[in-house]
Symmetry: C2
Subunit: 126 residues, 2 copies
């Protein structure tokens, strides 16, 4: 059943899974035929490309946290968060993102879109 509570929990589990570096837990939230458009405007990733994308994006570890309430409409969640991503060079990339999760009737994420661009990124030394 697709409830606001379920959508909120999915967002919480998504962020916790990234913080734990558990990309299989991320994948468990997605429908089998899900698409991930990250960032918005790029070709959507599907299937094995999604796991590969998350694995590469967060290979060095990352910390993510909400920066405001999760907006819950009938079948979608939109949430603002900050990602601090460890880079191989020893720097930390900070990205301010808004993700959209569109849910299927079974409560899996069928479509994800990540809104951010160069103006939302800063780099600092670790």
């Amino acid at each position: 059943m697709l409830t606001p509570e379920h959508m909120q929990q999915t967002v919480d589990r998504y962020l916790a899974a990234i913080n734990a570096g558990d990309m299989q837990a991320v994948m468990a939230l997605y429908a089998d035929d899900a698409s991930v458009e990250d960032p918005v405007g790029t070709e959507p990733k599907r299937g094995d490309e999604i796991l590969e994308f998350y694995t590469n994006a967060f290979a060095g570890g990352a910390r993510v946290e909400l920066t405001g309430p999760v907006r819950l409409s009938a079948r979608a969640a939109a949430f603002p968060f900050r990602a601090e991503i460890n880079r191989p060079e020893g720097q930390i990339l900070i990205v301010e993102v808004i993700d959209i999760f569109e849910f299927d009737p079974a409560g899996k994420v069928a479509r994800m879109m990540a809104h951010f661009g160069p103006s939302n990124m800063t780099v600092r030394n670790a």
Copy 2:
């Protein structure tokens, strides 16, 4: 030309127009064939329905302000904001929203989606 600066300015003008109660200035940001899905999950409004929608929604006046940075990708802006809307009963409805603006190549907003639901609304006395 569709630049990040133009998209940021469009968001700033949109919020300023609502704060000024100037719904013609809101309409000027939209393409002629724009659609407005507010909230997400409802039938998109088009043409004269859009002006009618804004006129009714903000008939008693409203204050809107960003609650975080505007996320700017290739052809879209996503932004978190808080709306305080005066109600006829003398109460104020506070709504935490995330809007998505998808732009056409000419820099007009071709598609708007407003993410919020009952869990994002509170009411207080004026």
